[in-house]
Structures are given as C-alpha cells and as structure tokens.
C-alpha cells in the first residue's frame, strides 16, 4: 500500500483531502507560517524597546505590533498548533482508527481556519489593530483602528477550533480500536480530549464577547460602553471565561506530548498513568473556575477576589501532579538522550519556573504590584509559550520519522534546541526583573533605568530567533533529503508506531487489536 504522502501528488489531491494526516500537514504549514509572522512582530517589538525613547516606530505602529504579535501567536499558532497538527495526525493512529470520525468536518475546519486567518490579517490592510490581544472595552470600542475586522477574524478562527474539538471528542468516543479501554489510551489522547472539551465549552463565549465588541465598535451597541449604560468590567469577565481556559487549550496538548516523549525515551511506564490522565480532565474543568484572577485590580468584588484566588491555587496542584509524575517516570528508566529529551528538559525548566511564578501572581496581594507589568508578560511566556513552543518542537522531532519516513540530523537538532531554550530564558528572565522594578507592559517608551534589562531581553530574543531559523532549515531539508527511517526508530510502545512508515491512507493494513498498554515496555512491540 502506498504511503499517504505518495497517494496522489497533485496539489488538488492535497487541497481536497479528507485524510487526517494530510490535513495535519496542511495545518503544520499554516501554523508554522503563523509562528514566523508572529515572531517577526515579536522582533519588531524587541527592536523598538532597545531604547527608552521612540526609535524605529511611532506609538501607533508599536501598539499594532504587539497586538498583532499577540493575536497571531495566540489565535493562529498556540491555540490550534498541537491539536490540529499532531492531534490530527496521531490521535486516530493512537486509537487504532483509520481516520477521525468526521473527516469532511476536519477539512472544513482547516478552511475555516484559513478564512479566519485571512480576515484577521486583512485587518492589517485596513489599518491594523492597536488594542492588545485582549480587546478590552471600552478602548477597543473607541479605537480608530480596524477592530471589527480583527474580532470577526478571531470569531471565525474560533469556529474552526470548535469544529476540531468536536471532531476529537466524537473520535475518542466512537473510534477506539478493539481492546482499547479508556485507560489504555495514550496520555496524548487524554490531553487532546481534555483540550477538546475546553475548546467546545469556552470558545463560543469568546466568540460572542468579541462579536459584541465588534458590534459596539461598528454600530455603537454600547453593551460594554459606560457612556451608554454598559459595564466594561463585564467584557473582562466574558473574555477571561474563555481566555483563562484557553491557557489550558495551549498547554494541555503540550503536556500530552511531554508524557509521550518522556515515556518513550526513558523506556518506562509513567509513574502514575491515572494521575496524568485524570489530572488532564481535572485541569479542563477547574480551569473554568479561575478566570477572575486576571481581574484582581479591576475593581472586582472582594468575594470574587477571594474565591478566584483559592481556586487558582487548586488548579496549580493538578499541574504539580503532572510535573512530579514526569520526573518520577525518569527514575530507574533507561534514558536515551536526544533533541526531544533536551526539549523536555527545557519544558520542565520553563514550565516549573513559569508555573511557580504563576502561583506567586495568583496570590492576591502580590498581584497588585505585578498586574499588567512585565512580570506577567514573562510569566505567561515562560509557562504558556515556553511550554507550547518547546513541546511543539519536541513533537516535530519525535514524530518526524513517522510523519515523513526520514530522520532529522541529531547534531543540528541539539544545537537548535540549546539555542531555542537558552534564547528563551535570556529573553524572559530580564522581563521578570523589569516587572519587579515596575515597568508596565505595552509600553512604547519607558523610563531610562529599565534600559539595560530591555537590551538583554532583545539579545535573548535574537538567539531564540536564530535557533528557530536553524531548526526550520534543517527540518525542511530533512523532509526531502533525510536518512530513511524504520517503522519504530525510538523503540516506542505507542500504537501509532505500529503503522507502516510513512503510514498509508487508512493507517493500518489490518485493524488493530489492542492487548497491552501504550507504555508496556516489557511487552514486545507487536502484541
């Protein structure tokens, strides 16, 4: 049987494909473009911040840059990337299924994403957006920029996110192979499943609140405009009802990748499979109860401050459970060290430091000083961006042989990984200190005493960018010229490795019958 890559080489065969793997590759291309675009905006911001006074841009262009950096990175890269690329490619394979449950919907999701992304980027043409990715009313409703276009774009991208989530939930419920009990599902599947729940429940609320901001902006509806009797704080409630869970939409799939990588390369069972699986679902639900911690200084009621404060502490416990379980998984394993493991180590470092600073900012009184300063910027970049980016790259390397049937160059990969991780740490550690010193975020100009930390941060960003460029170059090169890979080069027990490399259109030659767990290294590869 021919591989999915070889079955039809025309452009058309790719664009109208219903094969989950090809859709995954399409999403890989689209989200990588988004990463590059968002990265360019990030560098523009860092260049401007080299000096305390305006240098390259005026204030409006600067505000547009960080808004588009945020919007592109959050809605076009981090939210969709791991579910739509690796979830699409590997979720059905991990379940032993020939495809997702609703393949046409899957393709539709891709085109809806493209449509939304196009509308979102069209807003650049119409004058950009300068409201920050949070679109806070009433600034967003009075801003002279193309707010309505941008929020409509985000709304459309949200539809794509809902469709993907819906598809994955249905797939997990109805497409498991024979013998695949719930507690035999790979941990990546659990993570994607939990993510899908959040996507389906939270995204509509974001979509609605953004539409309302768009309506306020375009037609003067005044739902959030105090001059017309609206309450701007309500927008923040609705926005964070989605956007706090959205943090978990970004990080849960990354946690799924961690579980796969750490088990495969330590050739060990997870220290507690159930703890990881159940904490994914726990995060999905408790994550909905913490949105108010973004609003401690907004004038929210004292009751809400207390309640959201303590609930935020509980959600940290679930993450802590995962971290400890991963570390314990290494214990007495048989560890192969390579690029995915280096990224795993980078993830642990960034996630633990970022997570701990998260507990710190969730402490109500400390948040007064840190709120809306660079401390918060550094915190969420460490945990959310660092977590997602390192695990996106780890997944690119870990599954590269299965996806393309070739190997990547290990030496270059390690160099790239070191550059990315060090660059990341150098970019954002100074920002923690800037936040402590009191520098507010979204500042085009700043007082001179903050300058040298900003220069360090920009230097770090340069290293990070170089690392990403190196990685992109050798990975693209390896797709066409890499050494041929076998079916299971890592000696994994994951079910996706049972398929031929690269997999044929419907994944498995014969239907899988599962008789062992996904991390049973004492069992032979084929049960």
């Amino acid at each position: 049987m021919t591989s999915y890559l070889a079955s039809g080489r025309s452009l058309r065969s790719w664009l109208v494909t219903k094969d989950h793997k090809r859709i995954g590759i399409l999403f890989l291309i689209a989200t990588t473009l988004a990463l590059v675009l968002g990265g360019v905006f990030a560098l523009l911001i860092r260049i401007e911040l080299l000096t305390p006074e305006p240098s390259v841009f005026d204030a409006l262009d600067y505000n547009r840059s960080f808004t588009h950096h945020g919007v592109v990175m959050v809605f076009l890269f981090m939210v969709p990337v791991i579910p739509t690329v690796f979830g699409n490619f590997f979720l059905p394979m991990m379940l032993g299924a020939p495809d997702v449950a609703l393949p046409r919907l899957n393709l539709a999701s891709f085109y809806v994403y493209c449509l939304g992304a196009t509308i979102l980027l069209l807003s650049l043409w119409f004058g950009g957006v300068d409201t920050g990715w949070t679109f806070y009313a009433p600034y967003a409703t009075t801003s002279p920029t193309a707010v309505a276009t941008a929020v409509f774009g985000v709304f459309v991208v949200g539809i794509s996110s809902i469709l993907t989530g819906l598809n994955f939930i249905v797939t997990v419920h109805t497409m498991r192979a024979k013998g695949m009990r719930w507690f035999r599902m790979p941990l990546f599947v659990w993570a994607i499943y939990a993510t899908a729940i959040i996507q389906v429940l939270a995204t509509p609320v974001l979509g609605l609140s953004l539409l309302l901001v768009g309506a306020d902006h375009a037609f003067g509806m005044g739902v959030f405009d105090p001059a017309l009797g609206g309450d701007p704080i309500l927008f923040q409630h609705l926005f964070w009802f989605y956007s706090h869970p959205a943090v978990y939409i970004m990080i849960l799939p990354a946690m799924g990748v961690v579980s796969e990588v750490v088990c495969t390369f330590s050739h060990n069972r997870p220290a507690s499979y159930r703890a990881i699986a159940i904490s994914s679902i726990g995060i999905a639900f408790i994550g909905f109860l913490t949105w108010g911690h973004h609003m401690f200084v907004s004038g929210m009621s004292m009751l809400d401050v207390g309640a959201f404060g303590i609930l935020s502490m509980f959600v940290a416990i679930f993450s802590a459970i995962k971290v400890f379980t991963w570390t314990a998984t290494l214990y007495r394993g048989r560890i192969t060290f390579n690029a995915p493991m280096l990224y795993f180590f980078g993830f642990m470092f960034l996630f633990v430091f970022g997570g701990m600073t998260g507990v710190a900012v969730a402490t109500s009184s400390l948040d007064i000083h840190w709120h809306d300063t660079y401390f918060v910027v550094a915190h969420f970049h460490f945990i959310m961006v660092g977590g997602t980016l390192t695990m996106f790259l780890a997944a690119c390397h870990y599954w590269f042989p299965k996806m393309f049937g070739r190997r990547y160059p290990e030496k270059w990969a390690l160099i790239g990984a070191v550059a990315v991780i060090l660059g990341f740490v150098f970019t954002f550690t100074p920002q923690f200190l800037l936040g402590n010193a009191g520098m507010p975020r979204r500042y085009h100009t700043y007082v001179p005493e903050y300058q040298w930390l900003n220069v360090m941060s920009t230097a770090g960003a340069t290293i990070l960018a170089l690392g990403l460029v190196v990685t992109l170059v050798y990975l693209v090169h390896s797709i066409f010229r890499g050494e041929k890979a076998g079916d299971n080069p890592w000696d994994s027990r994951g079910y996706e490795w049972l398929a031929p490399t690269p997999p044929p259109t419907h994944n498995f030659h014969t239907p899988l019958v599962i008789a062992r767990g996904p991390y049973d290294f004492h069992c032979p590869e084929r049960p």
Binding site: L201, L238, F288, S301
Partner: protein, 94 residues
C-alpha cells in the same frame, strides 16, 4: 440502536405538545397573577425549564440518548449556569 426502543411513540409526541401548550398557557396566565416581581420571574423561568426539559426528553429523544450525549447536555447546561452565576456574583457583591 434499533427503531423500536430508541424513538418516542406517536402518543408521547402528542402528549408533549399538549403539555407544552398547557404550560405556555399557564405561564401566560401567571403573568397576570399578583405575584411579587421576584417570585413571578422564578415561576416563569421554572415553567420554561420544564418546557425545555420536555422538548429535550421527548422531541429531541434525550430519553434514549447514550451516556455521552446526556453528559454533553448536562455539562453545557451547568456551564451556562456557571457563567451566569459567576457574573452575578461579582456584580451582586461589588
């Protein structure tokens, strides 16, 4: 899912229609009853909930739905409640 066990009988549809119309009439009538504003609102919303339950259970055949489908329905409803309560809690205690 076989036909006989998984769909409502004709009679149940008609009974549902009749009770929905009756509840609508009741709700309409209660509008003119001299209840306090708060109580009247609660009664009207209570009746609406019963009506939606009838639509869901009979017309939408939730009675015969699988466990995942029921879980989906319940989860979504409780999240609507969560959102409304969360917002009201802030405004009510500000």
């Amino acid at each position: 899912m076989s036909e006989s066990s998984s769909s409502s009988s004709g009679l149940s549809y008609i009974l549902a229609l009749v009770s929905l119309l009756a509840l609508t009439g009741l709700s309409f009538g209660m509008h003119f009853a001299p209840l306090g504003g708060g109580v009247g609102t609660l009664v009207a919303l209570g009746i609406a909930t019963v009506k939606v339950a009838i639509v869901a259970l009979v017309f939408m055949e939730l009675r015969f739905g699988t466990t995942p489908i029921r879980v989906v329905a319940l989860t979504c409803l409780s999240f609507v409640a969560l959102l409304c309560l969360g917002l009201a809690a802030d405004v009510g205690f500000r």
